[in-house]
């Protein structure tokens, strides 16, 4: 009897949690169509003016493009770097392995704020570089690389090397073997490493905040708007737009994963 109640309570909690998690998203979605200068209740009627305002805001649209460019480059470069490092870590013994391992872990365990200010002192203080999307990219690769490395290490440990040996026995050289055997088999792992790197970059505020110049990424743009109370309802349209873009993207990636499996 009590057990039954316990189970019911737990399912109830689960539903409540999902509602709690989705309520803010719902507020943003609905708010973007509410004809009220401050999004929220009461409902003042349907409008598209916040969407028009958002679509006319060049800096908002630019920040979306910037964010995706940085995130895609981060995903690609960090995954390549992570794959290479994983090859060394899983298939070879080498000196300095312990140091390498702890260097991989260190950036993961420090708050992004610290990495941001540290790289700021390097780029602005020591090298006197202009801050740009490139400096953000460098910072994002630093935080994505350890994740990509760990994911690829996990995939390589479970990798059946006899397939590669078979290819080599049949006369393929290392490059062909890599291209035709290793790479296709590692695709799901590469995909999840890239996805992890991509979202890390897209979500990051703290590093981009310190390393951005005139070109902003989405979180830095949003922060500026929120901090100085600029164009607030416009932000609900931005959120709804971002939500739709990433929903489509994650649907594609989920379907892609399913087909591969």
């Amino acid at each position: 009897m009590f057990r039954h109640i316990g189970r019911k309570l737990l399912s109830f909690y689960f539903v409540l949690f999902i509602l709690f998690v989705y309520f803010p998203l719902f507020v943003l979605m609905v708010g973007s169509f509410n004809n009220s200068t401050w999004p929220g209740l009461p409902w003042q009627g349907f409008t598209l003016k916040w969407w028009e305002m958002f679509l006319a805001d060049k800096s908002a649209l630019d920040s979306i493009i910037n964010s995706f460019m940085v995130a895609l480059s981060t995903a690609f470069l960090a995954t390549v770097g992570g794959l290479l490092a994983a090859f060394a870590l899983v298939r070879h013994k080498f000196r300095g392995r312990k140091i390498f391992n702890s260097l991989t872990l260190m950036p993961m365990t420090l708050p992004y704020l610290l990495l941001g200010v540290a790289m700021l002192t390097l780029f602005r203080g020591a090298l006197n570089l202009e801050l740009s999307l490139a400096t953000i990219l460098v910072g994002h690769i630093l935080v994505a690389l350890p994740y990509a490395t760990l994911v690829m290490v996990a995939r390589l440990i479970g990798f059946d090397r006899s397939l590669e040996e078979a290819a080599m026995d049949l006369g393929a050289n290392e490059l062909t073997t890599f291209r035709k055997v290793t790479l296709p088999l590692l695709m799901p792992g590469l995909f999840s490493a890239a996805f992890l790197a991509f979202t890390t970059s897209l979500e990051d505020f703290a590093i981009a905040f310190f390393l951005s110049g005139y070109q902003l990424t989405v979180p830095v743009y949003i922060f500026g708007q929120l901090r100085y109370w600029l164009g607030l309802p416009k932000l609900t349209a931005l959120s709804a737009a971002l939500l739709s873009i990433s929903f489509v993207l994650s649907l594609i990636s989920a379907l892609g994963g399913k087909i591969r499996r």
């Binding site: 390498f100 760990l150 959120s239």
Partner: protein, 305 residues
């Protein structure tokens, strides 16, 4: 001519491959090169530079590159140790955020792993929803909800309750917002370790006369501890360094240690003092991480990614 070209190409690749075939060391270090570059140039060097900066000082707008420990003295003495108290408060808040987010997330992980039979992964996918938009936007949504003239107050007033003005602009706002932002994410590592558990152990416990509560306390909870620790690691460290929440919804009561750091780097141009404060935070965090990492292994972190 046309025929020779591909042959030549093959020759060159073969030559390069041969260099790599001959030396294993070269091979390994080529693999590691991008990572070494990034870790040394963009991690160790900046942290080292931060350390150096923390011993320099500013005179007006000029950086004086002379050794001084004044910055560290300042941190501990400024307004009777305001910064040290601020750091303490930040750590306490991060602790509360961790307990809140892990506590809210654990029953969800437990439910998905133990009670759901089908659609486990769809349920997990559902939890990724809020990460489709940036967490700053989630923060903004909660601000719309909790404002004095916000949605929650509108509902309260409509049903005849007094308006509440204390939701925003204080330390509990920061804790609440970070818990709300983090808890769905923490379900993943805890789910991973619950999934790994042998479910037959629970039957064994029941056969030996344990009631469900005893079975949970003695079997399930200890076996899911690695997941809980990984989740703790995931949330505790970032919430010490969390800057945006405190700045956007914390008000004066919700100021945390990173807020003055940002200020010293961006507005006040007091990099040496900011560096010293950052370095103090780094040391505190390294101590915490080394305690946590003694209990969690690298494999456990990997499995929950």
């Amino acid at each position: 001519m046309k025929r020779e070209n591909p042959k030549k190409k093959v020759k060159i690749t073969e030559k390069i491959l041969n260099i790599f075939r001959r030396s294993k060391t070269l091979r390994v270090h080529t693999y590691l090169l991008p990572s070494w570059i990034w870790y040394i140039l963009f991690f160790l060097a900046p942290i080292g530079l931060l350390f150096v900066y923390s011993f320099w000082r500013m005179e007006d707008v000029f950086l004086i590159r002379e050794f001084t420990t004044q910055n560290y003295v300042n941190i501990f003495t400024y307004r009777e140790g305001m910064y040290v108290r601020l750091l303490g408060k930040t750590i306490l808040m991060a602790g509360a955020i961790t307990i809140g987010a892990v506590g809210l997330g654990y029953p969800v992980a437990y439910y998905i792993s133990m009670r759901m039979e089908k659609h486990k992964y769809s349920a997990l996918f559902l939890l990724m929803g809020p990460y489709l938009v940036n967490y700053l936007l989630i923060l903004y949504a909660w601000r719309i909800i909790l404002e004095p003239s916000g949605i929650l107050n509108y509902v309260l007033v409509t049903i005849g309750l007094p308006r509440q003005e204390w939701f925003l602009w204080n330390w509990w706002t920061v804790i609440f917002m970070d818990v709300a932002a983090w808890s769905p994410w923490l379900v993943f590592p805890m789910f991973a370790s619950l999934e790994k558990m042998e479910k037959t152990l629970l039957e064994a416990a029941a056969d030996l006369g344990a009631n469900p509560r005893q079975a949970f306390m003695r079997v399930t909870l200890p076996l899911s501890m690695p997941g809980i620790l990984v989740a703790t690691l995931f949330v505790l460290i970032p919430s010490i360094g969390e800057y945006a929440t405190a700045d956007l919804v914390g008000g004066s009561g919700g100021i945390t240690y990173p807020v003055p750091i940002e200020n010293y780097f961006h507005k006040a141009l007091q990099w040496p003092l900011g560096s010293a404060m950052s370095f103090l935070m780094l040391i505190v965090i390294l101590i915490m991480v080394s305690i946590l990492l003694r209990k969690v292994s690298l494999e456990q972190i990997m499995e929950s990614l």
